[in-house]
Symmetry: D2
């Protein structure tokens, strides 16, 4: 049987854009026709070496290319809305890095346009494709622990982003915890209805100066009655700490962190082993591959993507509720968000 090939374009060649490019380059069923970036000249040699023919500054050149069927949107968040709407209207399938936008209103608008255009739209919640979290979710769905009672997510970055990034990041809840809010819905298989968030500034003064926090504990209440908690820190000196646990009537599901190696050195001082994998590029290396593979398969088979625009919107709504809860020091229900949605 002849294998189907999907022709794609990538918008943005920063860290995450290059990652998607290199992953797609290794898939036998994908051809990356073009990539666009403001600094097109600087990425030329790299892009050619992985077989991309069209290297341009203006994303419009990719959007207008009729051979290109799908677009990976890897440019800054403030460019997402315009690109997605344009791509949707031109009938391209869309993979969009998270968050869709910084405004729930704008995200809703985008989803409307995408819906009318009837194209595939996948949001980049890469952790859904991590082998461990995927397995936990599958086992919850299969009823291995009965009905879920408690969710626990630990999500700690190895080091805080620089001040300039923090300033335009949307804050800890929108930039970092948004992945955990998606993971919460995904693992418990139920919607979040209420949020209580406690935050602290314990790491870098410039984070406080930016009006942001660096440490947080967020309690979630789910529609199915379960309750959950997420703890976040911007600085875990031992590496990227990513754990999840779902506890239910018939048992508990949890997974370990990945260490650099599993080697143990036992001496008269005790037992020593490696730090955790450093950050998301290392830890979720395979998850990014599975995420892109899944998107391509859904395009080729016409099946629903595993992480759609609604998932993106919902995570943003939880982030907004968490932000308001933290600022007001009170529980905030997701319903209360209506009418007061602009974030920036």
């Amino acid at each position: 049987m002849k294998q189907q090939t999907t022709v794609i374009g990538i918008i943005g060649a920063g860290r995450i854009g290059r990652l998607h490019a290199e992953n797609n380059a290794s898939f036998p069923n994908v051809r990356i026709k073009g990539i666009s970036d403001l600094f097109a000249d600087e990425i030329k040699e790299w892009a050619l070496s992985i077989g991309i023919e069209k290297i341009v500054k203006d994303s419009e050149e990719l959007l207008l290319d009729e051979e290109i069927e799908a677009i990976f949107v890897c440019s800054p968040t403030n460019t997402h809305a315009a690109i997605i709407k344009r791509a949707a209207k031109l009938g391209k399938h869309i993979f969009c890095e998270k968050p869709i936008s910084f405004s729930i209103e704008e995200t809703k608008e985008i989803l409307e346009v995408v819906k009318k255009a009837n194209v595939q739209f996948q949001v980049g919640f890469n952790r859904r494709f991590d082998r461990n979290f995927f397995k936990i979710q599958q086992m919850v769905k299969k009823g291995k622990i009965g009905s879920p009672h408690l969710l626990k997510i630990t999500s700690r970055d190895p080091e805080p982003p620089p001040a300039e990034y923090v300033n335009k990041s949307g804050g800890l809840f929108f930039d970092m915890a948004i992945h955990d809010f998606d993971m919460a819905r995904y693992l418990v298989n139920s919607e979040v209805v209420e949020v209580f968030a406690t935050g602290a500034n314990l790491i870098e003064p410039y984070i406080k100066e930016a009006g942001d926090i660096d440490t947080a504990i967020t309690t979630l209440t789910f529609a199915n009655g379960a309750i959950g908690v997420i703890d976040n820190s911007r600085k875990a000196v031992y590496g990227y700490d990513q754990r999840a646990e779902v506890f239910g009537e018939k048992g508990n599901l949890n997974c370990r962190n990945d260490q650099l190696t599993s080697v143990e050195l036992s001496t008269s001082e005790g037992i020593r082993s490696d730090k955790l994998k450093n950050f998301f590029l290392e830890r979720y290396k395979d998850a990014y591959i599975e995420e892109a593979k899944s998107f391509i398969e859904c395009i080729q088979n016409g099946t629903p993507v595993l992480c759609n625009g609604y998932d993106g919107l919902k995570a943003e709504m939880i982030a907004e509720a968490a932000k308001q809860s933290y600022l007001q020091n009170r529980p905030v229900s997701i319903d209360q968000l209506n009418g007061n949605l602009l974030l920036l």
Copy 2:
């Protein structure tokens, strides 16, 4: 050098009273002179076999025995106040099972009497003497993780107590989570200043009918700026789940649960290992021994006990704040408790 022997009496021969009796019986530096219980006849053979000579119904007989230097108070919580006050006035050192009482006012009164009597007073927060939690606390104190940022405690019982117990237990926060509230102060080495608690009824209807909850997530804010979270469940089918973790600027400290054995069976189905130890008597077997040893040593050496009345009071105050927070669905600061303290 001649070894010192401390003569003790035990009030109450229920599960925990018998445990303390058997542990003390194995210490070369302790003589258990007497034990009192309403059902003195039924425990006679057992008590004789471990060398206790005086087996009585009325605790007063032990309290008036001049040879007895220290009393273990293992009777129901509602008898604590009278016994402790009487023992203190008679100059006996006191070991009291938790909680001291169900009323913060009453606990404060008791502590006043004990203070005036100038006797040793240790509260039975046995987990402080667990080798794992003790080590975490020591390492936090030594600065191994720098200043603490996040505390996480998981504390889940293997099965809920019967309805009759629930009814007079004081509720999940006072009966069960109180151990975790003490552990929180102990591990972070700072006072709790604010509490937010979310609860749920997911396990047994009779718990709800008793006006109690069976599942909870409690967020704590500490005086030193750290934040923490405790998750509780009355029913973990895989055994007694007891974990703690302290995260700070320089690292993370955590410990594993104890399984029945460390045997792994690897087959074509995967890898299987044992359930956790069943409940507190098994899991904290050694901790109970260390707890009693430490009390005896403090008496013999005149050094301060490692878990005193103030610790007992503080844990009760956090429990009260958690209860009010849950009932009112808002954060409650410990200071707000003043003036509104009676619980039952």
Copy 3:
């Protein structure tokens, strides 16, 4: 129902004799009437504090005491033969520390006497009562891994014994690996038929000077076709390393070492945890209790002991084969031992 009480005597109050005394003192169904030791005066205070009434120099006083039903033989190996024979003839049940003797001929003689006397005779292979090894053995017996193919035992002491001990120890195979030879038979549930041993002197010169080795790998062939290997070292600086693994047609069984605590400290340097438990008294603390409990139960119920004289003899025969194999650098079958059995 009235509980049965067994009256025992202990011969030898060295490290292991005192251990058995303290353990038995805590059993409600045992009374230690007497203990004998050359240095009876020095142990008097200790013995009284755990309730032993008769503290004598001459073991004969215990053997002739008609109230004493069972004897724990904890004196040096070269005294075993005389004591056991005498005790058996006087109708006492016998618990004997390993090895029974240093001579297979002598051990055989002893077993004859014991058999004729029709008393219980248990050999002190304490590891059979370790919760982990016991569970592995049970699961092998239940067929959880089908027929066994491979056995692996790692057995490493934390530090070598002093020169004076080495000189009269019988050598690594008789003094140390003998426990592993018993464990091999126990876990595989089949007899050893051939042995090949490789040894080395890598640790302390005085061990070599004593004609002994400090490091060994011993390959075993079992009657059921399985093969196995034991690795021994006299010096594991990270603690007492005791592991076992049985691999078969349907799977693998293995267990972990016990660490002092399960606390992990994660820092920018990696993850650190505790050393292993230091040596046999710590690691097999519970196993020694179970071992003695089991012996007492077998006496009280008239059931066969779980580790009898034949087990002691067999382990000695494997040790002898290993020693000859090492000296001759060739495989030695257990059958070849006949006719050439004296060791010292």
Copy 4:
């Protein structure tokens, strides 16, 4: 700086040839110009999809292609000698899958030719590039455990190869354990001087009928005084079991197996987790990438390969000694092999 590109050809498109092709296709500094296979037609579509232009039946076409600088020899072992000699004479660098040949004499001849041609020659001992084993080796070299005393390798395949493969495999020692013999030299950093091997037929009758064994324990003595042991089985139903441990005067180094996920399901039945990764393609996925990357780097930088022809020869000599030891049931020294080297 302009990146260097190495042009390679691959001989043989079986499982391992395709793996090397796909890995090299993803390297920005490698161009695969051609691949040869008897079934060239069948691999055409796959080869084109990863960008290989020249797909031929006869390896000679690749060898004569002047643009091709390096050859990956992935054809059956009996074709290695002719191809390697030809490639070497034509000045190509060579990567050769293990074993180099089935005859130590022939391997020696090949190494002579390669040496004269002065080309790079790397042997496919992929495990040297596994992150865990590599780390153990580095730490041994750095002296983290002082001088090595004991080596332990567990190496068990998930299922036996089919009868037709077994017949021409060279036997367990040459086909399977050869990787472990290389690992032994690599981890201990010393040559093997004597071998004792015990084997058994416990799995499939057709293995015995082929004159081969399916289970083995091999004891190794090293030039530096250390001793070691390898246990092999052709059938571990729980997955590909690959462990290594080096014990020395200052400590112990060991690593865990990789499971499919790290998810644990705790229920009233106990704790369950996943099987091990299935076989070498999954377990050593990253190691194969590192192996090829390292070969390309050595070519581009003119530095010595990390696993050369001498390493290939030495592993074969240990395999031969193991085979003879097993057949003769006696220890065989590597020196004894001189004069009696032909295996098939």
